[in-house]
Amino acid sequence: MPDKKVTIQATRFDPDHDEKPRLQSYEIPFSDESMVVLDALNYIKSHVDGSLSYRWSCRMGICGSCGMMVNGTPKLTCNAFLREYWPRPVVVEPLNNFPLIRDLVIDMDDFMHKLKSIKPWIIRKQEIPLGSGEHRQTNDQIDEFRQFSECINCMLCYAACPVYGLNNEFLGPAATALARRYNLDSRDQGLTQRLPVIADTEGVWECSFVGECSVVCPKGVDPAKAIQQTKLDTTMRFVLPFGNRE
């Protein structure tokens, strides 16, 4: 029996020579049922075309760096099995909604800036001296925010969000989920510092609940839920007489 093959069509873009991105086709051996899209890209890079550029690191769904569009859907390529697409060709493109630097590598500056803008660290009005011991939390208190702390910053949710695609001023799903993670943390007192960013018109109110961010999230973070809950919370703060509590 002839060896099984799979066709990979990958985006190529050389900023020094190309006007716009184009797809390049590679036919490579599909030698093992456990092969993922990232394995196929690594095969191309090692055996066919060493100039193909893309990001990856852990190969196990942890680092969040291998996100790309696979047949039109944002996926972690280390978690997208070729067997689910074969015998159709697999089209691998850079994540939608971001500027393209080269081949499959997008510019993530905007995302990094947004993450930082919500101050993703524990803010205390007054720091407790180190010597006075740890901030204790019950399991219930951890459960309040655990889901929102699972994010691996893969940006699949931004690639799936048409609102961000149309207006990249929008704070977006992962940054809001991260803000909610800290706002729900019993040790944190930084809500009022985050409000100007999250409750802004380009914050949660820009979201019209497409919901696709939560569909594509590989970690079950449910950023759409974080955004809608933030809308409700900020509204309550505004309308209830005791809403402005810290």
């Binding site: 873009f13 900023p15 020094d16 716009k20 991105p21 039109g72 859907t73 939608n96 909604n97 971001f98 500027p99 393209l100 630097i101 080269r102 590598v105 510019d107 500056d109 219930d140 048409p162 695609g165 149309l166 019209s208 609940f209 497409v210 919901g211 696709e212 569909v215 449910d222 759409a224 839920k225 809608q228 809950q229 809308k231 409700l232």
Partner: protein
């Protein structure tokens, strides 16, 4: 900070294709959901006109009863039901309540929203029919 972008020189800017909403089923139904608000708003404007005309006294009031308007109203009713249904089913995701220090299950929250919706519709129907007699 020297970003990768600066090091790489020219970037290819992302542009959203106008056909983005036809690319996935979820996008399509999202656009349909958002669109339902438009005929609904038109129907409500119409209702305001009718109320204004009714205010001119019973002699001059003849409500609009053409077949086209009835069909339009039925279509708008379906849109309103679809919009309300999608909105209320999301309540379980959005509302985050604790009673006696335990989180209220999302299904119960959704159920309570539909219950409130039914009660509100009943009250409004009663008021309209009672005063309309």
């Amino acid at each position: 900070m020297t970003s990768e972008a600066h090091a790489a020189g020219r970037e290819y800017r992302w542009r959203m294709p106008t056909s983005w909403w036809t690319r996935s089923r979820n996008y399509f139904f999202y656009v349909v959901r958002e669109f339902t608000a438009l005929p609904l708003a038109l129907w409500l404007l119409w209702l305001l006109v009718e109320i204004k005309r009714a205010g001119d006294g019973p002699a001059r009031y003849s409500p609009h009863g053409s077949a086209a308007f009835v069909v339009f109203s039925v279509v708008v009713l379906l849109f309103a039901l679809y919009h309300s249904f999608t909105f209320l089913t999301l309540a379980g995701t959005i509302i985050h309540l604790r009673v006696l220090d335990r989180p209220v299950p999302p299904s119960l929250i959704v159920l309570s929203q539909f219950g409130l919706w039914a009660v509100a519709s009943g009250v409004i129907a009663f008021v309209l029919i009672w005063f309309g007699r």
